[in-house]
């Protein structure tokens, strides 16, 4: 049974018979199986294979590789005839800038990117909005009036999660305390692949009295779920990016309140579809709450009692009456 992430079947791109778009997929470190945005991107491609008769090829970055290796990955895909090419992660921005010029008749997409060119689409997400909503959920559900946050590293990647979350909690009740822990100084392994650090941080947060902890720390989050699964009922964790309830163990599921969703899969599929239809647009393709590109998960049904309240906030975000901050 295939549930580890959206697409962990080893043969994602094995079938080369499709007549649709030939998608070249360049992953960030971790690649498929990272239970995060790489997997989500793969899920989008999977859907494209199924629905657009697409074929694909994939390749992932390795740790501490030079920038030229990323360029090389893109070029190799381009030379091999793949079109469109999806680069997963903002780290590909500069490289796509360069390579897209060399292949003007191919289309490129960069997840989270900020590249510029007539054949480049940046798929970007208003993660602060999704985080705002899980912040609201936390604010509504906390009994201790005390919640926590674990971030991988300070900086523009994670700050929007933290800022949105904090604002969401405060929107419900400004007196609720929000404790924040950061795992690392840099977006390195210690930030996003450090479950033991997240364990320590989570234990500290719960010990200090928080009853809900939201993480935005990639693979490190496993440490949070480990800790929360040993806690009594009513102590919660909140996942990030995908609906992490779906990939959790049964003991953990009992404690996963919700997840802040970032629908990379949808964006990638949309892009592939647009390519097939010849409607790709250069510039930024923003996935925000209006488009349902970000949001919160309801699996487990733990939010059933407050869904309506959360959706009020959501409506305000959609209408623009409320703004989720992206800076701390």
């Amino acid at each position: 049974e295939d549930t580890g992430g959206a697409a962990t079947s080893d043969e994602l791109c094995a079938d080369k018979s499709g007549a649709g778009p030939k998608i070249g997929l360049a992953y960030d470190i971790g690649g498929r199986g990272d239970h995060s945005f790489n997997d989500l991107a793969a899920a989008g491609v999977k859907k494209s294979l199924d629905e657009l008769d697409a074929t694909c090829e994939e390749s992932e970055a390795s740790a501490q590789e030079p920038d030229s290796a990323k360029e090389e990955r893109l070029r190799t895909l381009a030379e091999a005839g793949f079109n469109p090419i999806v680069a997963v992660g903002f780290v590909y921005t500069e490289e796509v800038n360069k390579v897209a010029k060399e292949y003007p008749d191919k289309k490129f997409a960069v997840v989270d990117g900020f590249a510029e060119g007539p054949n480049i689409t940046n798929l970007v997400f208003s993660v602060e909005q999704g985080s705002f909503l899980v912040g609201v959920a936390a604010g509504l559900k906390t009994k201790a009036k005390h919640v926590g946050f674990i971030g991988g590293a300070r900086g523009p990647i994670i700050d929007p999660f933290a800022a949105g979350y904090k604002a969401g909690v405060a929107a419900v009740d400004p007196s609720i305390k929000v404790d924040m822990k950061w795992l690392s100084d840099k977006g390195d392994d210690k930030a996003f692949a450090n479950p033991s650090g997240a364990k320590t941080a989570a234990t500290a947060l719960y010990d200090a009295g928080a009853d809900i902890v939201f993480h935005a720390s990639g693979l490190s989050g496993g440490g949070l779920f480990d800790v929360v699964s040993t806690k009594p009922d009513g102590i919660w964790a909140i996942g990030v990016d995908s609906d992490q309830y779906q990939t959790a163990t049964p003991e953990q599921q009992k404690h996963i309140l919700t997840s802040s969703l970032k629908k990379v899969d949808v964006a990638v599929f949309d892009f592939a579809k647009a390519f097939k239809d010849g409607t790709t647009k250069p510039g930024y393709d923003l996935y925000d709450i209006k488009r349902d590109g970000v949001g919160y998960a309801t699996s487990g049904g733990f939010l059933d009692d407050v869904t309506s309240k959360i959706d009020e906030y959501k409506a305000k975000l959609v209408s623009g009456d409320l703004k989720a901050p992206s800076k701390l």
């Binding site: 392994d189 479950p195 320590t200 500290a204």
Partner: protein, 420 residues
């Protein structure tokens, strides 16, 4: 490859050999430390400084480092410098990941030790039989291990439910032990925040709450190694290979064999350290999860003067500061500032009495600096707390390193038939 400190001793400083051997028991040190920390806690009100939670995290952070250090001890006591510890730990994590996933946590530990030993076998082959520079071999092993673990993870874990090319599925941790009665009582006592008593209580609470059986195993390994190395003929032979292999050879000791045994044991223990990281700390295998703990372990061993008691202190020092910054953050680290200031003042007095005027002045100035920092601020910015373990290690080594003495033949090439 590192230079013998002999030629570098600051002018006028006595050689380690001449400093009278006055060994203060580890218990005395621990007691002094406890009193100091307790005093600081009461003074500053930063209770997280030694709460049971912090202590438990300290234990968890210290064990893998202590195992790495112990691994280093085995190897270096037999005269083989082992900078490949990091690699052997990495092999340990992947071994623990594979065997732990398929056959359970204990198989994971055994698998980790076997994998660590594979790396060690390579090191032994290169250094003992081929006389390769120990550092070169160690560095090579680190590279190989890093690549091998990444390659194997991709091969083994891709497509497994919950796994991926860079990580294993979640792993079961080996049994952990909680003594509920004691643990709860101690927590109550801790929360009274009494001088010394509450501190001791949190210490007891820490080791009676969710104590991993691997921690127990680590303690057994450390005590067992100390007894084996210092109380048995086997240990004497092994250590003699690090002190004077030619003397050992001239008395019929098969030096190669002991060196190989020592390095293999070193690999197994380092592998166990990797197992702890994968099975206990993380509950999962991930590429790069050792995070340089092999090197830190090496530092802890040097810090501990190549002795079991000392390396435990080094590991705990590092583990404590690391746990403290992550768990308790800026305020607790801020409380440490005054602790450091007090210690430095103490050191300055000792140095002054020994006639080391320049050193005493330096300590004094730095100590006053810390005190000023403490009194003029309320917290240490998070960015700096993360440096705590590293800065502390540097600071402490700066104060203590001159009294260190490594095994006399550590890192030296030895060929059979050199005796005479």
């Amino acid at each position: 490859m590192t230079m013998a400190p002999e030629e570098l001793r600051p002018a006028g400083a006595p050689s380690a050999a001449l400093v009278p051997r006055r060994r203060i028991s580890i218990w005395v040190w621990l007691l002094v430390g406890l009193v100091l920390i307790s005093a600081v806690r009461v003074l500053t009100g930063a209770n997280e400084v030694d709460s049971a939670g912090t202590m438990r995290e300290t234990v968890n952070a210290s064990v893998p480092i202590a195992l790495a250090a112990l691994a280093g001890l085995w190897s270096e006591r037999a005269g083989v410098v082992n900078i490949g510890l990091e690699g052997m730990m990495i092999l340990g994590t992947i071994g623990a990941g594979y065997f732990g996933y398929w056959y359970g946590p204990w198989a994971g530990i055994v698998g980790a030790m076997v994998f660590g030993m594979i790396g060690a076998a390579l090191h032994a082959l290169a250094t003992v039989y081929f006389g390769v520079d120990h550092i070169v071999s160690g560095v090579a092993i680190n590279i190989i291990a890093l690549g091998a673990a990444a390659f194997l993870a991709d091969t083994w874990f891709s497509g497994l439910r919950g796994g991926g090319p860079t990580q294993s599925p979640p792993l079961d941790a080996p049994l952990s032990i909680t003594l509920p009665g004691i643990s709860d009582a101690m927590i109550t006592l801790q929360d009274k925040h009494w001088f010394i008593i509450s501190d001791l209580a949190s210490l007891v609470a820490a080791v009676t709450t969710e104590l991993s059986s691997m921690t127990v195993l680590a303690v057994i390994l450390i005590v067992g190694s100390a007894l084996l190395l210092w109380r048995t003929g086997f240990g004497l032979r092994l250590r003699s290979c690090g002190e004077s292999p030619v003397a050992a050879e001239s008395l019929g000791v098969n030096v190669y064999r002991y060196k190989v045994i020592a390095v293999l044991t070193s690999g197994a223990i380092a592998g166990a350290g990797g197992a702890f990281i994968a099975l206990v700390s993380s509950g999962i295998y991930q590429n790069g999860q050792t995070g340089g703990r092999g090197y830190i372990g090496l530092a802890a061993m040097i810090f501990g003067n190549w002795r079991p008691g000392g390396l435990v202190m080094g590991s705990v020092l590092f583990g404590y500061t690391d746990a403290l910054q992550l768990r308790a953050g800026g305020e607790a680290v801020h409380a440490l500032l005054i602790l450091v200031a007090i210690i430095l003042l103490g050191v300055a007095i000792l140095q002054f009495r020994r006639g080391l005027k320049i050193a005493a002045t330096t300590s004094l100035v730095i100590g006053v600096g810390f005190a000023v920092w403490f009194f003029t601020t309320d917290t240490v910015p998070a960015d700096f707390t993360r440096m705590t373990p590293y800065v502390t290690t540097l600071l402490v080594l700066g104060l203590a390193a001159q009294r260190l003495r490594m095994p006399a033949a550590d890192g030296l090439r030895y060929r059979r038939g050199q005796a005479g």
